[in-house]
Amino acid sequence: MQDSHAAAAHHPAFQHHFETMEQQREASTLGMWLFLITEILFFGGMFTVYLVYRNWYFASFAAGSLTLDLTLGAFNTVVLIGSSLTMALAVHSAETGQRNLLVAFLLLTILLGATFLGVKAVEYSHKFEEHHVPGPSFRFGSEELRHFHEEATALRSTQIHGVELGEVQLFFSLYFAMTGMHALHMVIGIGVLSVLAWKSRRGVYSPEYFAPVEYAGLYWHFVDIVWIFLFPLLYLITRHVGVHP
């Protein structure tokens, strides 16, 4: 026991209060997964709110959702799934000790993440132009309503009535709160990945020690998964208009 402690002590990343490198790795892996569970519950609160109001104010939410840009949303989904792939490849490169590939994949992931945020910024600016931002200047005019009615009629939906301004505003409140919180997580993720890329270039990580890359990967995948739920909830909701009796 004391021997293994001494044997592991030579590695620069080994912390004195652990017995072995293996124990240290297990502890930090468990810690990271627990942290991700807290993140699920963190977003879970907002998903609960969304679920309740979507149920109550279905028509208004459908009307609000129709104004979102499906093409940009779908493009961003593909970008984000792509970034998950490059992140997974980065972890694999770290595992196999390919330093240059690791740096390249980390930079590629950062690039894809930045692309996502750029597209998100374009979407947000559209919302501002169209006065779809909740607040005193919020507008949801006859143009949007007509569009909604056309879509709903085409889908032979009976739920074309009952669109209330306050409820539509609520949809956009949740849109900004949920995508904003998601974007904040992306920004933090890009910051973490930048530090990792810099450290990787200096050769900090090796097949013996690449835990930070692995955990950043878990975090990045988690943020992607949140978007995988946000995209259908916010953008595709209108596809259900016709299904309701």
Binding site: F18, A27, S28, G31, L34, L41, Q169, A177
Partner: protein, 546 residues
């Protein structure tokens, strides 16, 4: 319990230990030693407790007379809000886990430190940052929403410092999440060889269960507070009915955390109880595994009962019925604990030292608080006493009575381990007695007041309630003396108390096998555990004649 032999008694001054391993303010502010961080928490929590107590004094002074003559109703609203925020978020929730838990959990499982020492220090800084935000809201005008922040008052109508106070709680919440995460990982991965799950001290089990609640509940509070912040700052309508939102939804989200939070407060105290009752009756805790699992059961049930806070707020009758039944269920694991502690005392060789007096105090207060909880879980009775002093008395008995008794009892029990010195036993016994009497005189009349119909949160009341209110205020001043006594004699003992030696109470946990105060890495050699927890030998029991 292990092969590690305690070092021979040697003067505290000559031996190196965690307190004299390093000197200067920097060595404390940048420490990653869990024992030093526990002391940082001890000092800051004592400060927040004193502040919360000051607000309590103002409340009891105002209620001495029926007329609202000491302060305006607005000021009174701010005073009871700050009393609630300080006490709940900055004393009751962190008290036992952040101080005793931080100090003891690594030692009890034979580890050198918590799994993430830097995260532990970061938790303390987050806690202090949260406290600074809350204090900022006090000095810049206060907040009048009540500690529950009910919407839409908090998001739209209140003209006070809601945002800094809410941010303070948000930040302190992250401190709680990280502490819980650290404890869970430590208990899973850092146990000494031979220390199986069912050899763990029950204090560790209780803190483990409380940590689960911290990790699973606090993020929901965090997002709820963020939504309140967004609504207040940008007028987005998630909880405001004028904008399509629903204030009841806020209450669901808020109580989803804040009811389990009661168990974050009480579970670690229950863990202290198991240690004290076992040590001072020199017996293994009766039904060890039942007591261990009841902690986890309380944590699980705790998440299913939030709706009993909303019996009269407009949720459906059927939801209320379900929540009523589920609320009764929490009584089962709670009663398992109380009965098992009582059974532990039976035919034990009980010694009435200070920590044990606090343990008896806990049993009394917790039983009263728990039984009145059944009244409140019953739908019909709850409608009668909702938002009266009956509720105030009930949650003070459970939360404050439970936590204070566990906290002070635990602090006395492990004080020789923390400081290496003994406290004056006579004064300590007196303090336990004064706290118990003062507490009951303060809060028992409030049950009667509430039953008679005095509403909570009013700064004036009809004259017929005055006698009971005067009793309560008198009790509060006695209680205050009971809190001040330990402050003085414990500080005195740090310098003048006789040296304690490694195990002054002849207790069994791993923490007693190392020197007092312990060295920085807790153990000279990592212990190997070969015995069950609480292995008190039959020879130590006093034979009962007849």
């Amino acid at each position: 319990m292990s092969t590690a032999v305690a070092t021979a008694p040697e003067s505290i001054h000559r031996r190196r230990h965690y307190l004299n391993a390093d000197y200067g303010i920097r060595s404390w502010l940048f420490t990653t030693d869990h024992k030093r961080i526990a002391l940082l928490y001890l000092f800051s929590i004592t400060f927040f407790f004193a502040l919360g107590g000051l607000f309590a004094v103002l409340i009891r002074l105002e209620l001495l007379t029926p007329a609202g003559d000491l302060m305006t109703s607005d000021t009174y609203n701010k005073v009871f809000t700050m009393h609630g925020i300080m006490m709940v978020f900055f004393f009751l929730i962190p008290s036992v886990p952040a101080t005793l838990g931080n100090f003891l959990i690594p030692m009890m499982i034979g580890a050198r430190d918590l799994a993430f020492p830097k995260l532990n220090l970061a938790s303390w800084y987050l806690f202090m940052a949260g406290g600074v935000f809350a204090l900022y809201s006090v000095v810049t005008g206060g907040i009048d929403t009540g500690w529950t922040f009910y919407t839409p008052f908090s998001t739209t109508y209140s003209n006070t410092k809601v945002i800094p106070a809410a941010l303070g709680i948000l930040i302190a919440g992250f401190s709680s999440i990280f502490t819980g995460l650290n404890f869970i990982v430590t208990v899973h991965r850092m146990r000494a060889p031979g220390l199986t799950w069912f050899r763990l001290p029950l204090f560790v089990w209780a803190n483990y269960a409380a940590s689960l609640i911290m990790v699973l509940g606090t993020p929901v509070l965090a997002i709820t507070i963020i939504l309140v912040f967004l609504e207040r700052a940008f007028h987005i309508g998630i909880f405001d009915p004028r904008l399509g939102g629903d204030p009841i939804l806020f209450q669901h989200l808020f109580w989803f955390y804040s009811h389990p939070a009661v168990y974050i407060m009480i579970l670690p105290s229950m863990g202290v109880m198991s240690e004290l009752i076992s040590a001072f009756s020199r017996k293994r805790v009766f039904g060890y595994s039942f007591v261990a699992f009841s902690s986890v059961a309380i944590a699980v049930f705790g998440f299913l009962v939030w709706g009993h806070h909303m019996f009269v707020s407009g949720q459906s009758v059927y939801a209320a019925m379900v929540f009523s039944i589920l609320s009764y269920l929490v009584a089962i694991p709670s009663a398992v604990k109380v009965f098992n502690w009582t059974a532990t005392l039976y035919k034990g060789s009980v010694s009435y030292q200070t920590p044990m007096l606090y343990a008896f105090g806990f049993l009394g207060l917790f039983t009263i608080g728990g039984l009145t909880g059944l009244f409140l879980a019953a739908l019909g009775v709850d409608v009668h006493v909702t938002d009266t002093y009956f509720v105030v008395a009930h949650f003070h008995y459970i939360m404050v009575g439970g936590v204070i008794m566990g906290y002070l009892g635990g602090l006395h029990f492990w004080w020789p381990k923390i400081t290496g010195r003994l406290y004056p036993e006579g004064w300590a016994k007196l303090s336990a007695l004064v706290v118990f009497l003062g507490f009951n005189l303060t809060f028992f009349p409030q049950f009667v007041l509430g039953y008679l119909g005095m509403p909570r949160r009013y700064h004036a009341y009809p004259e017929e309630f005055q006698v009971l209110n005067v009793m309560s205020s008198a009790g509060a001043s006695i209680l205050g003396v009971g809190y001040l006594l330990p402050l003085f004699y414990l500080l005195w003992s740090m310098r003048y108390g006789p040296e304690a030696g490694p195990n002054p109470f002849d207790a069994r946990g791993l923490e007693w096998q190392t020197a007092s105060p312990p060295p920085t890495h807790n153990f000279e050699q990592v212990p190997i555990v070969q015995e069950e927890a609480y292995a008190y030998h039959a020879a130590q029991e006093v034979p009962v004649a007849g």
